[in-house]
Symmetry: C2
Subunit: 302 residues, 2 copies
């Protein structure tokens, strides 16, 4: 079993670290919020008083942070983690969802320092983190992936090697960008059905077994009723928040801008998630975009 | 077995009529193009010299026509089919894909004349029409649906009762509108992946088993490679043509306008299918929208 330094013990990081302990690993945890570190003592996570301290003696160092700026800061700044682990050769894994450029900058710096690193963003949310059923989308070399696999398997169920450095982040934002579009599209379809007097259950029955099918429709229908487990039936309690979806679509648009990629529907869809967040619903499930469209409908602002 | 009048023997209507003969029905066929009627003699379809003649002695009268104007014209104009069948009480079935309003106008006229009518647009294309594996989305009363079911089963595999009059048309355009959006979204995702250096097969492997999944991706991937059976691997040979998709999205937008429904992504997606048709690719499969976006990408017109 490995010694693992874990930096970033928020809503996702905390249960992920706890699952590593459950799997028999020794985990040294650090977070800027000392309270969450203390709270994890009961789960068997050893408290470290700095990020650098958490990496001492580590075979693997994992970060789970909010955004690219935090990831660059923690790994690269003077006295940052890449400097801290020099001399030993732990495997580095960043599980944050960040921009592809930041992921590649940090991975390059690790490579220059003679270290192997994986970008391994997740999907599955807090529920998946707690149940150790996350999906990891992993970028990095074959050898680094092989090294990281057993550790990732303690936190997730589906571990996919997407390609070289940055490929994990690329896969996540491409997937979530398509999801963001599909969800607005399903919302438009169900609103139009309602206005045409077509029953939602009938549209669901037809489209979920036909060419209009999508995960957004079949598993997460934003109109209440057809999918009982969907957040639409619980006043859009998340689930995957609109704020996080907005973050991911923004990352996709930053990547599209940087590479000159035409993503017109994604840009259009983003404006709806932005409007949801601006209206104070960022903490609701992202499928709440249906309710926003329904409000536009009622107001005749189509 | 029934006597069936069949009006409209084009690419879809001809194999549908032939399948009715195969199932043991007597079919009297008519089309404005006398040649297609003659050609169907070999399949056992009796030639009628007018639409009205095709309805003589019919238990069921079926129309399969290009657009709402033709359907209204054939059924409603002076000497039209509703007048022609007065005195007998055949079941009327319109299998054309038309606007919801035209469908309801014709159904209302039928009702006033004491006749039962179904709107029953199909999906599955010429291949489905030939193999008798079409999906029928059917609007109309329970009794009319029960009466029509055995006839529709001779031409299709999946017969869904979507609701009252017009519900078949509503279901088809809502489904196809969602499909139109999903297809552009998948195209954007695969182009962004390419520009980020993410392998298409990897994105497919991840997204087809994740929240980004859709029929447009899993069964019909517009980027060549991941789905060998998809038109993208045959230079976008249809399949379902871009011209027909444009027709359906236009119907959805007409319905959205008429009901004040907000369908912003559908309107945006429509502009891409329009551009494909304007560029002379209306006969290609609708997934050719990927190639259009890829061209924009190369031209830096993102």
């Amino acid at each position: 079993m490995a010694t693992i330094g874990f930096i970033g013990l928020g809503n996702m990081g905390a249960p992920m670290a706890a699952n590593l302990v459950k799997a028999g690993h020794r985990v040294n945890g650090y977070d800027v919020n000392a309270k969450v570190v203390q709270a994890l003592a009961a789960a068997g996570v050893q408290a470290a008083h700095s990020a650098a301290e958490a990496t001492r003696g580590a075979d693997v160092v994992i970060t789970m942070l909010p955004a690219g700026e935090h990831v660059r800061d923690v790994w690269l700044h003077q006295g940052g983690l890449i400097e801290a682990v020099k001399g030993s050769t732990p495997l580095l894994i960043d599980c944050s969802t960040i921009d592809v450029d930041s992921a590649r900058v940090v991975t390059d710096a690790a490579r220059v320092a003679g270290l192997e690193m994986l970008d391994a963003p997740v999907s599955g949310g807090v529920g998946g983190a707690t149940a150790a059923t996350l999906t990891f989308m992993v970028g990095g070399s074959d050898t680094a992936f092989a090294r990281g696999l057993p550790v990732l398997q303690a936190m997730g169920k589906n571990i996919v090697h997407a390609g070289g450095p940055g490929a994990g982040q690329a896969a996540k934002i491409c997937n979530n960008m398509m999801l963001a579009i599909n969800m607005v599209g399903v919302s438009e379809g169900f609103l139009l059905a309602q206005n045409l007097g077509l029953d939602w259950d009938k549209l669901f029955q037809i489209a979920s077994t036909s060419s209009g099918q999508s995960w957004a429709l079949s598993s997460y229908c934003p109109a209440p009723g057809p999918v009982p487990a969907a957040p639409s039936n619980r006043d859009y309690a998340a689930g995957f928040t609109a704020a996080l979806m907005l973050k991911d679509v923004k990352l996709s648009q930053a990547a599209a801008d940087a590479t000159g990629s035409p993503t017109p529907l994604a840009a259009h869809a983003m404006s709806f998630y932005q409007a949801v967040v601006d209206a104070g619903d960022g903490g609701k499930d992202f499928s709440v975009v249906f309710r926003r469209l329904a409000n536009l409908n009622r107001q005749g602002q189509a």
